[in-house]
Every structure is written in C-alpha cells, then in structure tokens.
Amino acid sequence: MGLNRQHAAEIISHSFIGRGYYRLVLRAPDAARSALPGQFVMLRVSQYLDPFLARPLGIYSIPSKSSIEIVYRVAGRGTSLLTQMEPGSSLAMLGPLGRGFPAVEPGATPVLVAGGSGFPPLHFFASRLRRGGLSTPLFIGARDRAGLPPQPVLASFRKYGAKISMATEDGSAGVKCMVTSILDDYLSKSGHAASSVLYACGPRAMLAVVSRVARDRSIRCFVSMEERMACGVGACMGCSVRSGTGGFKRICTEGPVFEAGELDWSS
C-alpha cells in the first residue's frame, strides 16, 4: 500500500454552510492522493473517550493535492462536538476506507440519486465525471425544504454538470412526491433506461426502492450504504448488512458501495 491511512489531520477550514451542514477541510496529503469517490474516513470528534467511537463520514471532494473536504450534518452529540473544532487543531483520522463507486463505462449515462444527507459521496463522484459537456441527471429527495442539501452544495453539483431535479415529501420544494417517483418518471422516458446506470446514497428505505426500480428495468445500480460503525477496517463486524446470497457483508471493507443486487433488501 505504501500510503499512510492513519493521520493527525489538521483542520484548514471549518464553516457553517446552511441547513444544518458544516464544511470541513483537512490537511491529509496521502488521503488526497489516493481517495476514490465513494470512500469514507473515520474521524474522532474529540480527544476524550466520550463520545467514544470515531464517526464514519463520506468524502465530499478533494479540493487540493494535500487536502480532503468533508460536508456533514449535525446529527447528534458527536457531530455537534465536531462543529467546535477550530482551524489549526488536528483530528485523528483513518482513511480513505472502503470500496468506492466503480468507474462509469463508456456509453453509459450515470444517474445520481441522493436522499437526505447522502449527497457527499455522490458529490465527489460527480466532481470526477468527465462527460464532455453532457449533463448528469441528479435526483435529490428530502422530507421538506429544510432537509435538502445547502445552496453551496447544489451550486457545486451544477458546476460539475449536474442537472438537478428535486422532490420533497411535503411539497415545500420541488415536486411533492418521493424522489424515487421522479427517478422512475425519468427512466420511463424513451431511451433513458437503456443507457442509465444508477448511483445512489441515502436512507435505506430509499435505496431499497431505487434498487427495485433498477431491477424492474434491468439497469445497473450502485448504492452507498450506512450503518453504525466502530473500527472502519473490517475487524469489529459491527457494520454488517444482509447479503443477497445469505450471511452478511461489512459496509466498511466490502462496501460502502455495493451493486444493489449484492444485498438483501427484503427486511
């Protein structure tokens, strides 16, 4: 391997970007050099033992040769403590970890589906797409307007060529429906399904529907999964999801990105 994956990563910048999200840029040259879209890092939010475990966070982008960018939402005490960490201080970090998104095959149209706070790995993915001026469909779903990604994130996706369609459950922004409905509408238009490959990250319930839509239309679908995680390196067996062929798969090392058919979506 050669590259070091355990770092004391210095905080270069850390700021609130709206809708409950923070943007964190960390100095981590080895990680910046080797990270692939879909991979994640384990970040310790404090040097003390409570909160105890590191937090798994998807990589949002590689802003320079020596840094990585994380965008996270305050979800509990751990991420709340993380917001207080100031530039100049360092965070214990492991990564990049896990298996990322596979490269887009020639001729295929990547179709991105983000639910809730699941957009960071898709943003990194979008930043690496070289589509020669073609736009990339991005479907974003949330419960309501407040649950959508913050404006700087949407602007950045557009910069990378994303054509954004939004859906909210209460209709306060975009179309009033589940994001999977607007995805299905898109795919049902003539010609779209044939070349589409889905890349999705979000709540499990959303991913289950996305994977069903893909299966029904016989199109490939890659999902990025989340689960409580302790070690991030395959040792604790804490982050397992049910495999489609019986048994379990570890999100940290066999994922977080899986081809949808690898997993059991029935439960």
């Binding site: 391997m1 994956r5 355990q6 310790r44 033992l49 409570d50 909160p51 105890f52 475990l53 590191a54 214990a92 492991l94 689960e227 409580r228 995680m229 302790a230 070690c231 991030g232 390196v233 395959g234 040792a235 604790c236 067996m237 804490g238 982050c239 397992s240 999801v241 049910r242 019986g246 048994g247 379990f248 439960s267």
Partner: protein, 320 residues
Amino acid sequence: MRNKMPEVRDQKSAMGSPDLSVEFAGIKLKNPVLTASGTFGYGEEYAEFVDLNKLGGVIVKGISLKPLSGNPPPRIWETPSGMLNAIGLENPGVDVFLRNKLPFLRQFDTKVIVNIFGYTVEEYAALAERLDDAEGIAGLEVNISCPNVKAGGMVFGTDPATTHELLTAVRSRTKLPIFAKLSPNVTDVTAFARVARDAGCDGLSLINTLLGMAIDVRTGRPRLANCTGGLSGPAIRPVAVRMVWQTAKCVPLPIIGMGGIVTAEDALEFIIAGASAVAVGTANFLNPRATLDVLSGIEEFLALRGVKRLDDLKGTVNTT
C-alpha cells in the same frame, strides 16, 4: 491529569531499558501486550497500522467448528465511554481459519492465542482437538460465555458445574495451554476461577464483556437487534480491575487482564492488580496503534520508576 507520570525515584536506573518479557503457562511473551479477542480480527485487518512483530501476542477473533453468520443489524451501539455489541460471534469456522487466517499470522514473531467457542461441550472439545497440532498456536482461550444449547441456552460460564464439565473436556483433548475467559456476569468470579483451576486450565482471561442494553425511547425499541449486548470500553475498566485483583489474591493462575484498556496507565492498573499480561480491546477501534502506544507507555513508566522487570510490578497493589 490521567497521563501524569509518577515521580522519578532513581535517575540512574531510568537509563536502563526494562525487561518487558513475561512468561506464564509455558508461554514466553516478548512483552505483556496482547490484543483482545474480537477487536483485532485475525491480525490481517490491522497489519497495515501495526507491526505485529512488536506485539506480545494476538488473541484472534473467536472461532467455532462451523462458520457462523452472526446476528442481524444493528449490532453495535455507542454508550458513555464504551460500546455495546451483539455481533453474534460471526466467524468463518475452524477450517477457513487454519487454511487462510493462521498462515498469515505465522509470518510474524508474535504469539497466537486462539479464542474458541461452541454451543455444546462436544463442539468445544472437538475444536480444541482440531487446533491441538496446528503449527503456530501458542495457546487456546476458551470463551465460556456462550449459551449451552443442551441446557436450554443457559450460559456455560455462569454455572460452576457446566463450566467444570466444559473445561475438563477441552483439557482432555489438547496439550496446548488453555486460558478460561471468564464472564463478569456472575456474583463471585473467584468461584469460577477455582473451577477453571480444578479443571486443569493454565491461566485465566479476565474479563469478557458485561451484559447490557440500550433503548431508543422514541420508538421503545432496543438499540440492538439482539436486544442485549456485551458492554466494553473504558466504562467497564473498574469492574475488570476489581475482578483481576480479587482473583489474583486467591487463585494461583496467571491472568491476562483486559477490559477498557486505552492507555499504558490503564494497563498498569491491571498488572498492579495482579495480571501477568494485558489485552487491548475496544481501544483498537479508536486507534489502530493503541497496542503500541500502551507498550511504549509501559516501558517509559518502568524506566522512569526504575523498575527492572515488569514482573516486579505484578500484584503490588498497596492496600495498607
């Protein structure tokens, strides 16, 4: 301050490098720091971060006769200074262990202790026999905190008679040193330590996880799909130190002390309480190099205090 070092008593001896090697149950370890079962996989998972040659030993994740797929998720839940887990002893089974996992560990100059478990006495015994002549195994650690299928699921390690039957059966099928990993979920752990000695065990591992539970109050559901799980981490360390101390006083078996060790100071508590060696567990999850940090901290402590051999510190708790 947790990390403050005690006063230097003898500046001269601080220069010499202390002897960290320990020998017990016929096993000679280059240093007293091992990895606790279930927190370090089969060594491979952490080999990128830790030079395994530097460890006293690796106690591998529990192995059963047949592969086990484990419990449904969620399997873990963070708690104050600790975590609950109900992994369900997921493992690839002894055949895959011998074929794929053990050869990797054999490449390193470290002692391999294999944690074993089963659901019947015969499963444990057959497993011990299977591992008996495998090359590169220094000892077996017997996880007695499993439900006994033939006794209605009652946990082996919480009943003295079944503990005795189980350990006697394992003893009769292997020449390897065996360590009983005792459950802390009993009123008097020393009673089980005596049972282990009477059954012919060579040492003890203290402690396994404490049985715990957490509930999501909004849904009323347990946080773990299994409802209950094993509590580990610094939260349980005082319980573990107490049990090591109580046991070391009255049962003449070497003890591998474990339970919430994060720093060298934590590890030294166990040694002073009477443990011969220590195992770093959940701390590996926070810091893959936790074992090496503990090791260098122990060495530094001994040097500063002028203690020549780690063994000189063993069981020196001052209760006067």
